[in-house]
Each structure stands twice: as structure tokens, then as C-alpha cells.
Symmetry: C2
Subunit: 531 residues, 2 copies
């Protein structure tokens, strides 16, 4: 008995393309003599289809192409996720295809409706948990959340099964892979079954699926694991001898790097872009973004715009050019001073002197934003945003200025982790990011001698407070109890709350923490709760 | 027996302020000799609190202030919505307060999880439907959605009740008031009970609650109705004689005007703004927005920036000034040509000639956006966005350009309805919007002789197609079947799909149709479904 796990990268809405990929992988698995091949949750529609599910013809289209798969795939049992319409309601379902026919459909029972998930907006719950027999083997099916909610499956599957399949579209965040493997291991042990777990891989807007499909023994040991952040076909022979794999912890900077690289390259390619442009200041954030872009897309697809002003230090400016040279990416230098003085002159009609004011600082950022967008409008490059999570949390950024861009690479990356990613990049390709970039105290360089620490707490202090408030929902009082100063915590919380309006107009970005801004955290803008 | 319906405007998160308001209205009702006073759904927390509900201390705070209400309100029975935590889960509940004590809590049974609603993200369902006795009267409670889902209540309340209360936070859209009153009327008739319906009033980010609380007789006749779009206290004496009220249809332009006015004034005041600034082109959209602002906030709180370019026609420019004069609002004139040529010069480093290109058009819009934001950064005015739904649907607008602003007044208003609102405004204050503004063919004036109809179908054709696609989820084939040309429909659909990325970074705006952009319509950006 050979089972293949097809860890594929589906594209949301590309039902035809996904269908073709499923058939292709089905053939590959058959060629490797697999008896069964399993595909991720909603492999046919892509995940999450969101409000496409409200279109009546979307589920019809799923059915049409599922039949094509059934017709094409003979001589192998195929298990794949699709959107099922039945009796006027939708199910997040899994088709069991055998000998050219859909022989059964399993319907997801536990529908997640928290975090980034909205499944109860669309789907009804299944209520049947069949046991399937193939030759001398028995197996059960489950879809993603089904095995995450408490002891549900452990208690239901009283009869010993030979194996349990779980097909998933389980989004990545730091620590998630270990957490997930722990859950699968416990399930395997409790049910005394092999568990074969097939996860989606790929980036879809703000989320990234890491793949990392796996097979656990009835003793709860990890026997095989598919690639991280890549498509893979894992073929597993139940009859063969298997040594358990040792779990090695992956350092967060590396996991984050890999997630961001995939999230970025998929956003670019799935949205039909080829090239990107980055505003490069010579600071750490844009240095990391442009390096990631060069790794993800190839240096020939990355362009930098260096946009100095009178407040740009010589060393920052030189660093910016050096980074381009190190990466081998092209760049242009467009100064912003003359446009700024042109604004300054014309704005005198309605404003007092703007020199050295917040207005002037924001104008500089907005001129840079306009230049990036003018480049994008002319050549079609996607503008990458470089704002990190610490900044975005506190609103230490200019709306329509440094907040422009189609995709925010560091949107969910706290500043302290940005430094760790920079070090990781320098580990893989030494000398990519100059040491002076890493060492220089962070500054927006929008006025003389400006430092981030003039406006924000030091990042070593800020980031843990932000985590407690944003990711863990701690109250003011609870954070203070953790040992942080009251004034600091109050200031941080009020900055986070007051800048919801900015974030709402910011670019998408890749979720890598347990709670990202975006649909993962749905805060009202009009909100007087301050605790 | 006298019952008071307190149709109040709660503020999300302002639990202390809402508590004080509830107590104040409780006293008012008592003064008018009411035996019972009822308040809207989640009157104490505001609706919808969204992810504030995930904070453990949010529900604790609800409990604390609910006890304060109970303590303060004696001599009247008080029924009000609040967030209840019990056994580690949350309920959308309704407290029955009598003689200083919380005597019972009713938990919402039907939780809406569609459209703008996410209640299953937060709340568990109640499962008890008690019958309450007050003196010789019996009554039942229900919360909003409870009476919207099919025949649920009709079948459950087998025993005849004297009256049924429904407390709601039911968002407005065009036609909703009639739809809602029909549902209440049917419920009253089927249960042969008086139905007393208390709705929230006020604006909260993208939604507006219209109030329009009502009382229906056991024969399904409308006996009393509270104000539309205003706070109100409706006191109803069961013993008195009541003539049914005749339902008069309200014209959409008027309903829309009232909803927008309230949505705007509440967004401004609840977010602690006082003044707004509008970029006034002399076109119909900005003319309607600035008029609405003057009605909603008072002319002294509205400022216009007129920002002509070489492409601005003399008549448009004159109209812009005339509108300010008509409304009595202040304005400044800031030309954009010299900044544009400054950009043009500096961009030569990296771009070819930008004259008469999309890049130049977008730059003009972005310069105007920057000027508005510079004014806002200096004086603290909220920038009002003037984009209408037809434009926003098709992406006929510039990101970070005419899409800037904290709040989009016309975001959910199709262009054809913008004209109707202009006429309505001229009906209430004749001559507000010059006839030349209404008559001139729409143009962005970003190049010589530009017209909207160069890029878009005529609005009379475009708007119905957009409605079918966006609000009604019709497919390409279904829209063509309705009698529209295939090429037209294809073009419209592809514009709507391709511009999801722009809308995601656009300002909030007030929902007035059955499906607005925002959390009402959750579409992936990365999406290859084109049908």
C-alpha cells in the first residue's frame, strides 16, 4: 500500500488551472505506483475563496471541473478538497474519487470562524464521519479544523482505523509548524492510526501556507515530511521500514524569511506582475525588503529608487547604493528637494510656513510615494512597501507616503525581527546588507538628527509590549503587571488605537505572527474603549 | 401600561458614556410614567464592537457598568443589550432590570454571520426563550436577527403573548426600513401580539443605524414610529386608542441624504474631529459632498480647497467658487501646475517624457491629494473623500490621489444616485448646486477634453450592470441574459475585478446599498475567477 501526498499550490478562483494541476499530480502519483493520492483542502477552488463563494456559479464551476478530474484519473484513488453545493447550501468538502467516479463526499464538520477564518459565513457543517475500506485497510477522512477542536475525533473514532487522512489549508505563522505537528502526533497516538496530513502550499494575499505535510505513526512518531514552502509529492510505502525523523527547531528568522519569500513571489506571479520597485533609503527595512525581493524574484526583476533629500545623511545614501551593488539590482536616484520647495511655495496660499513641521515631514514621504507610483504607472512594476509591524502598529509612518505600495513585505514583522532577518540574509550571502545599515540607529531622516527613539520607545521595549497588546489581547493593567512602566504602556496602547485609520488604508502584507493586522484583527476605527 | 422605546445613539467602546446615556433615558422614561423602557441591542457596548470582544476585560467592563445601571434605575423595568460573559463564552444578551436588580438575561439565539455581520466569530447562541409576566401582561424578548430567520419565533411562541420586544442594531440600506417593517408586521399578525421594536440609531464606521423604531398591533398595523436617523424616546400607552399610521414611501434620494448626513456627522464627532476639508473641483461629486458636509456639520466647519490645473475649464473653476459662495463655506485656491512641472523635471532621471500619459494624470490627482493632506496635517481637518461607487467599482480613480481621505461620503452611492441627491439638495435649499454642475458631462479634467465616457460606459448603463454584478452576484452570462451587450458586461466585470487592490486601500465610506465595498463584500485580490 503506497500513499501519495500531493502538496500543491492552488490559485484562488483558477478552477481550471487547479483542476489541471490535480490531474497532473494524479498521474505523477500513479507513475510512482501510489494506490491513493491526497490533495489539500479546497484544492480545486483555492483557499480561501472568500465571497466568490456567494456567487451561485462558483460552486457549479467546482462541480464541473471535479467531474473532469474524476474522468481523467483512473487506476488510482484520489482524494481532494472542493466546494460542494447541496440542497441550496455549501459544504467545504472532500471528494473520494475511484475508477473515474466520485464514490463519496466527506463534509467538513468543524468550521473555523476566528482569526483569518470566516467559514461559517459560507459553509454548513457536515455531520457524517464514515469509515472507508480499501482492500484490507480502513481509513477515515478529516478536513483541517476537524482535528484541531479538542477531542472531537479521538472520541468519535472508537473503531481502530489503519489510517486517518487530514487535508488542510492551514496558514503559517511563527511556531505554527511545531504546534500543528504536535496536534497530529497526539491524534495518531490516541487513535493508534497512521495520520497522513496534506497541507496547501503557497501565498494568497495576506496568508502563506507552508506545506510541511507529514506522516505520523500510530505511536505518534514523525515518519515523513514534505518540503517547507514548496510544492512537493511525498510518496509513502506503508510496507517499508521507517525511521522516525528527528524534529529540529527552525530559527524564527529563517522561517520568517522563507514565508516572506514565498508570500512575495506568489503575490507577484499570481497577480501577473513580473517586476517590482522598492524605495531604498539605506535603512534596515528597505534593505531587507529589496534583498528578499532579489531572492524571491531574481535580481533582474527588482529596481530601486533612491530618493535623497537635504536630510539624508551621506552614509545612508552611500549604503543605499552599496546594497544595490551587492545585490546586483538596478537603481535610479531621484532627489526630492526641488519638488518639496515647489509645494512649499504653492502651499503658502493656505498654510503658514511648513518648514520643520509634521506637514513638511509628511510631504517628503508623500513625494517619495508619488515618485514610486509614477515609476509603477509608467513601467508596470509592483511597488513594494517597506513598513514594519512596529511602525505600522504605532502609526509611525505617513499615509500615502511611506505607506504606499501594493504589497507590504514587513507589515507583520516586528522591527527586532527585521534585524534578525537581516543577519540571516547575511548568513546565506555574506555582505549583502552592510554592517553600517545594521548598526545605525533607526531614523526616518525627515528632519535634522531625527531618530525613531525621539518618537517611539526603544524597539527592544516596544516590541514585547506590542505583542502583549496586539497578539495576546492583554489589558493596560495586565501589561503593567508584566513589569512595564505605566506611562510607556499607556503611550503604546494609545498609539496603536489611534492609528487604526492609517492601517485600514495601508497595503496588504504577509501574516507571520499569531495575529496580523488585516482580517486577522478586526478593530473598529470609531472606538472609545481605551484599556 | 406604558412602554418607552429609547432609540439611542451608542458609541462603540464608550461603555461609561453609554451607561450614563441609558440611565439618563431611563429617568426620562420614568418621568413620562413608563412602566418599561427598552434600549437597543448592545446598547451598552455599542454595535458592532468587533474584535474588542476578544479582549477579556471588555466583557468584564460591560458587567461592571450594567450593575451601575441596575443600581441607578429603580421604579421602572429596564431592558437593554450588553455583552455577557458566562462559562468562558460570550453572549449577545439582553438584561431585564427590575427594582435595582438584574432579574433575568435573555441570550440572542440567531446569530447573523453574513454581510457586515460576524457574530459567530464572537458569540455563542442562547437556547432559552422565556415568557415574562409583568402584572397581568405576558411578554417575550428577542434580539434583532432572532425575528429575521424564517418562522423561528412564530413557531416557538405557541402561547399567545401580550407583547414581544425586539431590540436591534439593524444597519440601514436603501429599502431596508420597508423590508424591516414588513417582517415586524408579519410577526405581530402571526403571534397576535403587539410587537415593540427598538433599533439603534447613529453612524459607526461604515454602517448607519436609522432608528425608525416601531410598534405594531396584533393585527400587524403600524401604530407608532420613532424618528428616522435621530435619537428618540417613543412612549406608548397600551390603554389608549391608536390609529394605524399610513406608510408613505420615502424617495431613495432623501433616504440616502439622511443616512449620509448622519453617517458623516457621527464619524466626525465620534472620532473627535470638528472640521473637514474637501477638494472641490466644480464637478457633481465634490459639490454633493461639500453640501452634505455643510448640512451635517455647519458651514463654519467646512473648508474647500480648489486646486485647478491647466486642464481645468474656466466654467468648472467658476462653479467651484460659486458652490462655496452658495453654501457660505471658506475656500483657498492652490494651483498644481508648478508642482507638476517640478515633478516632471525631476522624474526625467528615471522616466521618459510623462506629458499626456496615465502617469501625468495620476500625478495631478496625487498632487491634489498631497495638498489636502498637508492642509489636514497642519490644521487637523478631516479630509472628506468624494469618490462615488461607480468610479470606485471600476477603479476610475487614482490610488493616493483622489482616493485620499479619512471618510468617503459617496463610496456606496452610484453616480446616477449622486445626481438625484444633488436634485434633492436643490429642493431643500434651492440654488445650492448650480445647474451647470448638474448639466456638464462628467470629466476628471486630467487631460484636454477628457470625459468619463471615454473610459467608462454611460452611467445610465453602467450603474444597473454594477448592481447586478456587485449587489446581486449575477454571473457574466446572467447579466447578458438581462439584455446587456456582452462586450460591455465583460469590460465592466473585468474592471471591477481588477481594481479590488485599489478599493482595499481606499477610505471607509457609508453603506447605503444592499452590498457595499468593505466588510460587506470580502473579495480576494489574488483571484483568477472571471465569470
Amino acid at each position: 500500500m503506497k500513499i501519495a501526498i500531493a502538496q500543491i499550490n492552488s490559485v484562488v478562483g483558477d478552477i481550471k488551472g487547479n483542476c489541471e494541476k490535480i490531474i497532473r499530480y494524479g498521474f505523477k502519483a500513479k507513475k510512482k505506483n501510489a494506490d491513493i493520492v491526497i490533495f489539500p483542502e479546497l484544492a480545486l477552488s483555492g483557499y480561501p475563496p472568500e465571497d466568490l463563494l456567494l456567487k451561485r456559479h462558483f460552486s457549479d464551476c467546482n462541480k464541473e471541473f471535479l467531474l473532469k478530474i474524476a474522468k481523467a484519473c483512473k487506476g488510482i484513488m484520489l482524494i481532494a478538497g472542493f466546494v460542494e453545493k447541496n440542497g441550496g447550501v455549501l459544504y467545504n468538502s472532500c471528494a473520494v474519487i475511484h475508477d473515474g467516479k466520485i464514490v463519496d463526499v466527506y463534509r467538513k464538520i468543524k468550521l473555523p470562524n476566528y482569526g483569518v477564518f470566516d467559514e461559517k459565513r459560507y459553509f454548513s457543517s457536515g455531520d457524517v464521519l464514515p469509515i472507508y475500506i480499501l482492500g484490507v485497510f480502513s481509513f477515515g477522512l478529516s478536513i483541517c479544523e476537524d482535528i484541531w477542536q479538542g477531542d472531537f475525533f479521538n472520541s468519535v473514532w472508537r473503531k481502530k482505523l489503519d489510517f486517518i487522512f487530514n487535508i488542510s489549508a492551514s496558514p503559517f505563522h511563527l511556531g505554527k509548524i511545531a504546534q500543528r505537528e504536535n496536534i497530529i502526533s497526539v491524534l495518531a497516538k490516541k487513535t493508534k492510526s497512521f495520520v497522513l496530513y496534506c497541507n496547501m502550499v503557497g501565498g494568497q494575499d495576506e496568508i502563506v501556507f507552508d506545506g510541511t505535510s507529514s506522516i505520523f505513526s500510530p505511536q505518534g512518531k514523525l515518519l515523513a515530511r514534505a518540503k517547507r514552502f514548496q510544492e512537493d509529492l511525498l510518496v509513502f510505502d506503508l510496507a517499508a521500514e521507517h525511521e522516525p525523523i528527528k524534529k529540529e527547531p527552525v530559527e524564527p528568522a529563517r522561517e520568517a524569511f522563507e514565508a516572506l519569500r514565498l508570500g512575495l513571489s506568489d503575490y507577484v506571479s499570481k497577480n501577473n506582475f513580473k517586476k517590482v520597485v522598492v524605495g531604498l533609503s539605506g535603512g534596515i527595512d528597505s534593505a531587507v525588503v529589496i534583498s528578499l525581493a532579489a531572492f524571491a524574484l531574481g535580481r533582474e526583476n527588482v529596481h530601486a529608487l533612491i530618493m535623497p533629500s537635504v536630510y539624508t545623511s551621506k552614509s545612508t545614501f552611500e549604503d543605499a547604493k552599496k546594497i544595490c551593488d551587492n545585490l546586483g539590482v538596478s537603481f535610479d536616484i531621484v532627489g526630492i528637494d526641488s519638488v518639496l520647495s515647489s509645494y512649499s511655495k504653492d502651499l503658502k496660499v493656505c498654510l503658514k510656513e511648513i518648514k520643520r513641521t509634521k506637514t513638511e515631514e509628511n510631504l517628503q514621504a508623500r513625494i517619495r510615494g508619488n515618485i514610486l507610483m509614477a515609476f509603477s504607472n509608467t513601467y508596470g512594476h509592483l511597488v513594494l512597501n517597506t513598513g514594519n509591524k512596529s511602525e505600522v502598529s504605532c502609526g509611525y509612518c505617513t499615509l500615502y507616503g511611506d505607506m504606499v505600495g501594493g504589497f507590504g513585505i514587513l507589515k507583520d514583522v516586528p522591527k527586532t525581527l527585521v534585524y534578525d532577518i537581516a543577519s540571516y540574509i547575511n548568513d546565506i550571502v555574506p555582505g549583502t546588507i552592510p554592517f553600517s545599515v545594521i548598526r545605525r540607529p533607526p531614523s526616518a531622516e525627515l528632519r535634522p538628527n531625527q531618530k525613531d527613539s525621539d518618537s517611539l520607545p526603544e524597539y527592544d521595549l516596544l516590541d514585547p509590549v506590542l505583542k502583549l497588546y496586539i497578539e495576546d489581547d492583554y489589558s493596560l493593567a495586565e501589561i503593567i503587571k508584566k513589569g512595564y512602566k505605566k506611562n510607556l504602556v499607556k503611550k503604546v496602547i494609545s498609539m496603536v488605537d489611534a492609528n487604526e485609520y492609517k492601517r485600514r488604508q495601508g497595503p496588504l502584507g504577509i501574516k507571520i505572527t499569531s495575529r496580523a493586522f488585516g482580517k486577522d484583527r478586526r478593530m473598529p476605527i470609531t472606538n472609545k474603549f481605551m484599556q
